[in-house]
Symmetry: C2
Subunit: 372 residues, 2 copies
């Protein structure tokens, strides 16, 4: 990584070559193996959630798997084609499988926080307590109260003006319990799937491959002296092109109400209008990782790029949370009050989607205006 | 109205006196009587909705009643106290009673438009047609399809990507039918109430009073030479003070999510957080009418004041539409899909409330920065 301190935007500076790529890949492979060892030591076999250490280890595993996979993609011409085309889908499988458990947990937390906020800042656990007593509709069986302590409420301008005893607040509590049941089940299954994956021969083959990568990167003969910068620039260009295809004029106009179109569409899957934004999120990540390869540890944190990425993460999370609320509303035999609360929740999360697009537009505009 | 062309902001100009107030009140009273005659001639006794002319006449009646009442309030010290305190509540009763029918019609139209937009730009009547066939829940009787042709959809980025056959879209159609039934009933009742009011001896007493006002305004002895401007300035100050009490910093921050707090509150009545905004809406109107008295027909239209007023009207309309959706969701024995759609609709309208506050903040800021 001798060349990592070069500034790739400086045309007079020397090229960053395949050696830097090899160094980056070796470092990420080493990190992958370290995280894997840590994950095994910290008792990943425990119940869903696991220890804090095993959660951290799983995150580190995903983190390095994503970076290796992204680098193989961006700098494809410099690497042995057969090898890199064989390992990339396997790495995607590893990071995808490991991500699910965390995603369900985060989605539940996001939705319970939103329910809490929408209920006007009265503690959710207290509301959950009234479920069985106040259940006058009699359509559902005994619903377990949410087991998570709800996090503190969002901005509350009118703290708890009315006591939360009405029908619709029962709906909020019951929808929270329903989401808790469904997403906790999904999370438990994702945990089992991840454990099975980590114990599979398929995963062991991936780990073996990464172990080889940690010492020997299969560069093409020409790669050692090839300039990485055109390939990194191409990754940035793919990002820029995809952003140019986004409806940023609409997104930059607050309260455009675009995200809730299809809010009553019969399909509870994520909205088709979200797809280009998800795509930009992935391309932004590829661009960021390509910068890491070029700049190494000396990469100055681009706070605007970071903000844009965070907006797109928020966009993805809100989009999936909205879909989960819509999906829960299709549960047979739920009470109307529960369905109503899920409708409010769905719309709330679709507005979060819209807010995230606005935030992205703002940070992206600053970026292109003030680009160094 | 000889002094109506004076600029009241010019301290060297002569005062606008009680004569201008008398002229304004006479003109508004004449307008009231003209509208009343027109209303009687155009068959106000017809079914709810009435002819276009009778709707216009009712609007003109309300318009002059509001202006007379507002002027009596703002310029109270210049008018015979007993007389003005007796007639003001009567004028409020007239304009309030006449406003209800229009309010219910507008509310229904707003909600059906929103449902249409949320359903992704497929025509609402077509959806309504599938209600009876696709009703698999069997909880409701035969629901009449909405009788209004849904107006054109709002901005649609993805026109009808999926056929609207799913459960939730049935919910959208059924919630539209439910709102149509409830608000049409309310409107019909409001129409009858208005007709009864217009035929009552109480109303005839008001009309007699207005007829006297058209020729003889009961000014106090000192009023003819009194300066109107301090009283108009006091009205403006009450407005400015009330605006200063609004959470404009929050409102100016897009997607602050403040309007949906209490979105799942058990009380379907308009949110308590809306009250200060409604109050500003009334004070803005008083200020506008006081300007009319001072400037007469030469009053230059203040587009910023107009924009601020329109934002507050939109705020009021969305607030009441959201409450109507929440109220409809409390109808016994509705299907979960209907309740879900009403929840989405409620949240959508609460975001309209938030959007209206943002728009008000924007126009008000421009106003105070660029004030003449």
């Amino acid at each position: 990584m001798a060349q990592q301190h070069l500034d790739p935007t400086d045309p007079t500076a020397g090229a960053v070559t395949g050696d830097a790529l090899a160094g980056y890949l070796r470092a990420q492979a080493t990190e992958f193996l370290r995280a894997l060892r840590l994950h095994r030591e910290t008792g990943a076999g425990a119940a869903a959630g696991g220890s804090e250490e095993s959660v951290d280890a799983a995150r580190a595993l995903r983190r390095s798997a994503r970076r290796i996979s992204a680098s193989l993609h961006t700098f494809r011409p410099l690497l042995d084609t057969d090898w890199s085309e064989a390992i990339r889908p396997e790495l995607a499988w590893v990071s995808g499988t490991l991500a699910m458990e965390h995603a369900y947990a985060a989605r539940l937390e996001r939705l319970l926080q939103a329910l809490h906020r929408l209920s006007g800042a009265t503690a959710l656990p207290a509301q959950a307590g009234v479920v069985d007593i106040a259940d006058a509709t009699g359509t559902a069986g005994r619903i377990p109260a949410p087991q998570k302590e709800a996090p503190p409420a969002g901005p509350a301008t009118h703290p708890a003006a009315t006591p939360d005893r009405g029908n619709l607040t029962v709906g909020a509590a019951k929808s929270g319990a329903l989401l808790d049941r469904q997403l906790t089940l999904a999370r438990t299954r994702a945990h089992s799937t991840a454990l099975q994956a980590l114990g599979s021969s398929r995963f062991h083959a991936v780990a073996d491959n990464i172990a080889v990568l940690a010492s020997e990167v299969p560069l093409t003969p020409a790669a050692a002296t090839a300039d990485l910068r055109p390939l990194a620039a191409a990754a940035e260009e793919r990002l820029t092109d995809a952003v140019a295809g986004l409806p940023l004029v609409t997104a930059g106009h607050p309260y455009n109400a675009a995200a809730l179109i299809h809010g009553l569409s019969p399909d509870p899957a994520p909205h088709p209008q979200d797809a280009p934004w998800h795509q930009v999120r992935l391309l932004l990540r590829l661009h960021r990782y390509a910068r890491e390869v070029l700049h190494g540890d000396s990469d100055p944190v681009d706070v605007r790029l970071l903000a844009a990425g965070q907006s797109l993460n928020r966009h993805r999370d809100a989009s999936e949370a909205a879909a989960a609320a819509a999906q829960a509303a299709r549960t047979p035999r739920i009470a109307p009050a529960t369905a109503y609360a899920l409708g409010v929740l769905h719309a709330d999360q679709r507005h979060e989607v819209e807010a995230a697009r606005f935030a992205f537009q703002q940070s992206w505009q600053r970026q292109t205006v003030g680009t160094p």
